[in-house]
Subunit: 180 residues, 2 copies
């Protein structure tokens, strides 16, 4: 941020009175501009013993596989965001269920919120942001070509939990991936 | 937003190509400025059979009671944010535990994420944003003077769940409060 979105004056970075961290502050109109983490809402669509993955047609991680997920929008619930992203990326209809994984990624100031989901039919196809959409059993998942650590962690927990049939809500911190 | 934070040119509201909702767009430098929901991180600090509440010294809802909670900052985990808010608002030390309530508030584009917490000692006091900090048993809680619906819902679930001793993670949508 270089200029104040309210009055167009240049902003400075300083710690406002009563605060303890630097913010973008407009010295002209006095507005303090905050920046906060974003929520990435997604789901884990399941059909029988397989999960739905999308191969990304956009940066970052073009060509790699991921669960349907994307930035939550103003005015919607997290579950509505997950359902919308699934429709947009996989042209698929899901019944969104319980919260499964809540993943902090402080390095990039994001939180991934991933819900269980039941795929309602097999009428799916790549949306504008996907190259391919497909169902994968545990041993078919392209584990070395998953786009994001948060998604790989979610999928690994899912297949491990499936052995017991118990899927506790998991709160996890995602660290930098080796080599990433 | 009136002006582009990157180049100071006026922004317009329009639906960018490939998008489906209006954004603030700078026609001069081409930047699309997104606005997304914010995460309010908090906790429910417990000491024996009582919960810690803070009476707000700031707007909105000045003078009403709430759990320690506030906007998550960039670069921190949600639990770290909850712990920090508890230190700031109640000058209290807590061990943050499991995720308890995840509350969508689409009307104001916020998500409240409230964790269980164990108060570590009784050395608490009002921080700069609080008028009072105190412990309340279920029948002492000032139910008609709770600052926010999300907090009242969390507290009511807590005392109900305490009867069974089972505290499932709850995902809830918060609607407008009657009369609010």
């Amino acid at each position: 941020m270089n200029f104040c979105p309210h009055c167009a004056a240049p902003v400075v970075q300083r710690v406002p009175a009563g605060d303890d961290r630097p913010r973008h502050v407009c010295e002209a109109c006095g507005t303090i501009h905050y920046s906060n983490p974003k929520v990435v809402a997604g789901c884990l669509p399941v059909w029988q013993d397989r999960v739905l993955l999308c191969r990304r047609a956009i940066a970052p991680r073009h060509g790699l596989w991921t669960l349907p997920a994307g930035f939550m929008e103003n005015g919607e619930t997290t579950q509505a965001a997950a359902e919308r992203e699934t429709r947009e990326e996989a042209m698929a209809r899901v019944a969104v269920g319980d919260l499964y994984c809540y993943l902090n990624i402080p390095r990039i100031s994001q939180v991934y919120v991933i819900f269980h989901a039941r795929l309602l039919d097999l009428d799916f196809a790549p949306g504008a942001e996907s190259l391919e959409v497909a169902l994968f059993g545990e041993h078919e998942v392209p584990w070395d070509r998953i786009a994001f650590p948060a998604i790989e962690i979610t999928l690994r927990h899912y297949f491990a939990d499936r052995v017991t049939g118990v899927f506790p809500t998991r709160v996890l911190d995602v660290e930098r991936r080796a080599g990433a």
